[in-house]
Symmetry: C3
Subunit: 326 residues, 3 copies
């Protein structure tokens, strides 16, 4: 970051807080003029500030002038932040089925229910009210937040974060219409979550029908996302809130799907492609391209179409008269 330090160079920093809530072990930052009054009387230990505020006085023990305090703060945060305290052990109220395997230093929270034959890896943490289905495998250093459900057929890799209320491995939406009824197709595929995946609160990911549903390593999924049976998501993708991905779609490595977008079944989103918010995608998207709109098209084309429609509204009457005269 290359910032210039003024004040107590040995000032202690243990955590991060906004200027008005910071205490004498907190790092804070000043990026906008309207927060300057808070800066002048903050109890923060150290403050990252933009060059334009360098002349202001402060009650902080030290300050560091950097070009972009917010970026600097984000860069520092992961080093500063310590994971919440976790006490290894199985809570007295947790219920473990027959043949459950627990790794070293595992934490199983109150009222967690772990069914027969499940395996929880070293240092993983299953929180309160979680249900782990029969035979589920959880890798090492993973954390499942309260009230999540891992249906039978689910596998988590290492360092996976599953937030509260997530449902993994639920039956996909598949029926055959027979004898005047929608007859359920049993789902026997798996739901595989690879290493370093994070899954946001209340997201649902169905298991495969016969094949598997797979979320690739390092992919991050936001809240309230729906991923249907047999979908394959590649590595390092970002899937934002309320996205819906229909059955058997593929999303290749590094793609970004913005909020509330919907992907049709059996299509492929190419590597590093970007899909705009609320887009409705019904066909393949080539690698690296940005698509938007409904039905989704290359973003430039969507913008041109939107602009043309706005201009059309002003001239449609005259156009109709022109056409009538022909």
């Amino acid at each position: 970051m290359g910032g210039v330090v003024t004040g107590d160079g040995a000032a202690e920093v243990r955590a991060m807080a906004p200027l008005d809530r910071a205490t004498n072990t907190d790092l804070s930052f000043l990026a906008k003029a309207r927060y300057a009054p808070m800066y002048e009387r903050t109890r923060a230990s150290v403050v990252l500030i933009a060059p334009e505020f360098a002349e202001l006085s402060t009650t902080a023990a030290a300050r560091i002038v950097v070009d972009r305090p917010h970026d600097a703060m984000l860069a520092v945060l992961p080093r500063l932040y310590r994971s919440p305290a976790r006490e290894p052990g199985v809570h007295a109220t947790a219920r473990l089925g027959r043949g459950v395997t627990l790794g070293n230093d595992v934490t199983i929270g109150p009222y967690a229910v772990i069914a027969d034959g499940a395996a929880i890896g070293d240092r993983s943490w299953i929180e309160a009210h979680v249900s782990v289905g029969a035979g589920v495998v959880v890798g090492t250093d993973s954390r499942v937040f309260p009230s999540a459900t891992l249906y039978s057929g689910t596998t988590l890799g290492n360092r996976v974060l599953v937030h509260a209320g997530v449902r993994l491995g639920s039956d996909g939406f598949g029926y055959v219409f027979r004898n005047a009824a929608h007859e359920k197709i049993p789902h026997v595929g798996r739901c595989i979550i690879e290493d370093d995946v994070e899954i946001g609160a209340n997201t649902t990911i169905d298991r495969g029908s016969v094949d598997d549903t797979v979320i690739g390593a390092g992919t991050k999924i936001d809240n309230l996302v729906q991923i249907a049976h047999n979908v394959r998501i590649g590595r390092l993708c970002l899937i934002l809130a309320q996205v819906g991905i229909a059955g058997s779609a593929r999303v290749e490595d590094g793609a970004v799907i913005a909020g509330q977008a919907g992907l049709g079944g059996h299509i492929t989103i190419g590597a590093r492609a970007q899909i705009a918010g609320q887009a409705g995608v019904f066909g393949d998207v080539p690698p690296g391209e940005t698509w938007s709109g409904y039905p989704a098209r290359p973003h430039r084309q969507s913008l041109r179409a939107s602009a043309a429609v706005l201009r059309l509204a002003d001239i449609i009457k005259k156009l109709e008269r022109l056409v009538e005269r022909e």
Copy 2:
């Protein structure tokens, strides 16, 4: 309401029910002709009826002729309705951490888990299977329905209703791409829910990154809504089902966001503005305006554009010929 009563003026009313399910302590109403046969043989104690049905006979003990029976019913309901029975006390199976503070007449349901240092205010009700994180503060007269999760960093005001499966204070979706991976930005801001807020089932509201996420007093939020980190919602807003609000957006007092609409990050929706269902909003909306469509524009402009497009479809071929001839 000024209705005219006929029949037993002392007829007892304890609850509200449709004509076909009403019993002799129920109030009911008749607003549409097709329910007239039910009216004639209802067991209801009292029926609110529209003037056009005044001549019909009924088995009800009394009837009240009012101009708009449905509105009258809505007006009466809140007075008629009694909150469900709540027995103060901590259920034997609830688990309370170290230093948990409970107010007077609190109810803690079966299998609720309340972590270290949390505080629950007078007459508040934490239902079955709820997880309350370390240090969470719940005000007075609030109710948290089953299986909700309050992450550490969450604060509820007074008279707040949090429905089943709600997740408050989960980590926001924030990463920096570094060393060929999406590195998680720790979230240390708070999730603040002010007084008189109601939050619908399975809705998710993330905590702030460093700053806070705040839901203003008297705002009502429907089911399956997503509210991202650092969002600020004002007072008395209505946020309908499946709305998504991206990071750091602001919604000012009294705004109404209709179902499935999406708000982009860092934008401001002005006071009392109305956003139509499914709208995709990518820029600021001035106070008091109604916007719709994708990308969202003032509603009048969206309507004109939609109408122009419909008319365009009928003349596009001729327009292309006209242009070619030039």
Copy 3:
């Protein structure tokens, strides 16, 4: 299916698996050339294969040549699949209120909470961490997956499947603005789920305000769907993921609502109508028709409008010049 069997006609089949995971009691299938190498060395007992692969050798005990192996597999699956083992009985940690009625061979899972006066029918299964409200009725042979919530006022028929995290019978979103506040309208209607309905994970269905919310027999609902108060869904409908249905809407028998579509309040979707993904429907849709787009129109009309807009973008400048010259 009329397939031709080669190999051990008595080969045993107990389950279904992809070629690479199949063991000697599994049925598998080969439909695409790229899986042929797996076919040649599979441990599957029996493989369904398309005619074009009939010449390939395999390690499977038997193979059956059929025209469409995938369809054949789907047809066989329901017969092959055995429901997961269920042990009747009430878990020692389940909490039953006063006057709860249990049918024969019921299963109540660990930490389930069943409130006063609820009734669970024969052979029904309430899984871990489920909350069943006071007076709720569950029919026979139904299954409620972990962490679901049935609010008071909910009724389930027979053979109903309620997936993890579903919320049934929560209060609808109804307020009257009075005394400078959104005053809550109490909800006293019911949430009625008829026979053979399946409801996907984390879906929410509100109870009626005074009237009821009803899901008709044989209807299937996907994950993360929102159904508001007083909605009536007919029989044998399919409601796909993330659909939102506003208050008092009606969906008649056999209609199909595709993913992320939104239905406005008080409208009627006719019998067997089909609504496309992401459509925004604000008016009635006649029986049997297919509608799409925003605002939704008959699908043909939406397609024509989309195509016209794309072509417009190429000629809008020339059109504006034409109009200016007039």
